[in-house]
Amino acid sequence: METFRSHVMICGGTGCHSSGSGDLIKAFEEQIKGNGLDKEVKVVRTGCFGLCEVGPIVVIYPEGAFYSRVKAEDVKEIVEEHLLKGRIVKHLLYHDSINENSGDIKSLNEVNFYKKQKRIALKNCGIIDPENIDEYLAFDGYKALTKVLTEMTPEEVIKTVKDSGLRGRGGAGFPTGLKWDFCYKAKGDKKYVLCNADEGDPGAFMDRSVLEGDPLAVIEAMTIAGYAIGSDQGFIYVRAEYPIAVQRLQHAIKQAREYGLLGKNILETGFDFDLEVRLGAGAFVCGEETALMRSIEGKRGEPRPRPPFPANQGLFEKPTLLNNVETYANITQIILNGADWFSAIGTEKSKGTKVFALGGKINNTGLVEIPMGMTLREVLFDVGGGIPNGKKFKAAQTGGPSGGCIPTSKLDIPIDYDSLVSIGSMMGSGGLIVMDEDNCMVDIARFFMEFIVEESCGKCAPCRIGTKRMKEILDRIVAGKGVEGDIEKLEELGNMLKESALCGLGQTAPNPVLSTIRYFRDEYEAHIKDKRCPAGVCKGLMRYTIIADKCKSCGICAKNCPVSCISGEKKVPYVIDQDKCIKCGQCMEKCPFGAIELK
């Protein structure tokens, strides 16, 4: 391989790409060429660095200088100063990457955002060029597969995964080794290895970042799984909304085939395994395992009752192994470093790390990977940098539409599968959305219920009808038409749904509602009894009123009111009949004197 004295790593993840990193890559290449440095400096488009908030991000090695919010205009200065003259452009660095006392630049591991993180699944993200298999190989790529194929029996591979304590990262947390063992023991002439990259949580992008930043880690792990359970065919089911991930996966599969790492007789060991990418088409329920398999078969993605479990009867009725992207992304490291190394990280029952997509009202929005057992407080305030604009923390949401809201009183809970369930939420696949005092918890519950009503496949009645009834009650409450007894009705319906729905979608759908009732009952009551939204979000509970002092009695508001609910006469301030008002806002928009307010 050629050697370069400097590497310019530019984030090509979706977040930074959206903030313009594509133009930066071009600008760097031009400037570097213009200065005759193209034989000495290499520009690499990497996967996500995690700190999407301050993107686009550029890191220059060997110094490890971390430039944030870089604009195309800055490139000339960085190239001429840093790359040509060796002087780091300090005013463009990420603010936390300079040591305040000495003025030296910190290494990435010392920056607050990264200090408490531990990167296993995201090991290569931001480090390698995801479109170049040679870089993957240079960072220990395919060492694990080589070890497995030449030194280990399938039983030994399964035992290692079992001993590591790895649990599924797709949500439910089922022990991965056990699942592999079931599939290994299942009888069948043909078996399949599937990867769930459907990432249904509507506010999360962990799996997408792994696929965009390190696709070969997932491909290698699936090949290992194929050897372990005795399968020669795999499918990766990816959301169609992820074009960059799909393109990088396809490219990686092609390269792996060219290198003899997929296909027939892999590494000359006689082992065959190949992979295909299948695109989803926008249905949340297809993240559920039986629905996903139907979808790959080309049918409507409706779930079916279990048993039979997919390990015995899955895709095309054959024994099938399904794991989440992040679950696979841990496998090669476990094989290379051993089960003991992995099980030393985390808590007694939750081993290793978990990737979270931090979003909402938090300073460092982006992607973080933390050891299990870290408290929620540490994740939000040390890694996440706290709540912006001096606002007060109100709740954190994990588990997306299947999870719950965690209030201030539970901030010191350790993040692991069992603790989160015990407080009415769940680990989920890794969405972690922060809400502050300006967010209304009833509105959030309604938001998730609306999502579920849209995504319910309609096969079982409890989910199809129950979620709709729950949403109607919530709609009523946020519109200011809630009645006494609504909270109890929600609880009753929710508990019924949990017990009777066919699949995980319906069984977990009431969680956002039940958990907000549990911790924020007073907000529900304020909506129902006092007709007031404490956070000031619910429009239905706000009133348009005319400020008497400012009203000039021109009558324009009354003329524009579509339901004629404003009355008044000359020299007397006009008034709005609140019972008739439909809150369209026309009056406020048309008032020439700013005399109408919404509160």
């Binding site: 903030s19 509507p202 999360a204 909304e241 409507r300 929005t365 959030i444």
Partner: protein, 159 residues
């Protein structure tokens, strides 16, 4: 003037036919074929659904069933510019609803619909993976982040 439109139409049907031939008789190829067809036509008109059903040896109801199950498939032609407002959780808690409301007002269309002049289709989608820039929307392939309602008219005016 020779019908330019018809020529390009004919070409589309030819490509569709090639796609179907490639997967003839294979049920599991239904979704990839439908995705390909939607890529060609922009939506799935009835005659295209019929051709797919015949080609893959399926009933029309199978094709229609799949088309209506998955939100990505559309049975109506899309506007010249497709606006997708992210209504993922991260964007929602940062005020995506206000952005969507402003777009509805500005374009005078409801969610999922196309303006009468065919210029814009307004859709709500889930997480676009750019939560760091929330609230976010996409117009065609262009991403707009850190939005507020008052930026909407200016952005729309560019199209």
């Amino acid at each position: 003037m020779a019908c330019k439109n018809c020529d390009s139409k004919a070409k589309l049907y030819k490509e569709l036919d090639a796609l179907i031939q490639e997967h003839k008789g294979s049920r599991e190829a239904l979704m990839p074929v439908m995705q390909g067809a939607q890529g060609l036509f922009g939506y799935l008109p009835k005659d295209v659904q019929i051709l797919i059903a015949e080609g893959l040896d399926l009933k029309l109801s199978d094709v229609y069933g799949v088309a209506t199950f998955y939100s990505q498939f559309t049975l109506e032609p899309q506007g010249e510019n497709v606006i997708s407002v992210c209504m993922g959780t991260a964007c929602y808690v940062k005020g995506a609803q206000l952005v969507l409301d402003e777009l509805k007002k500005e374009l005078k269309v409801s969610e999922g619909k196309t303006t009468p002049d065919g210029k814009f289709t307004l859709n709500a989608t889930r997480c676009l993976g750019a939560c760091g820039l929330a609230p976010v929307m996409m117009i065609n392939d262009e991403v707009y982040g850190r939005l507020s309602a008052n930026m909407i008219p200016g952005i729309i005016a560019k199209y």
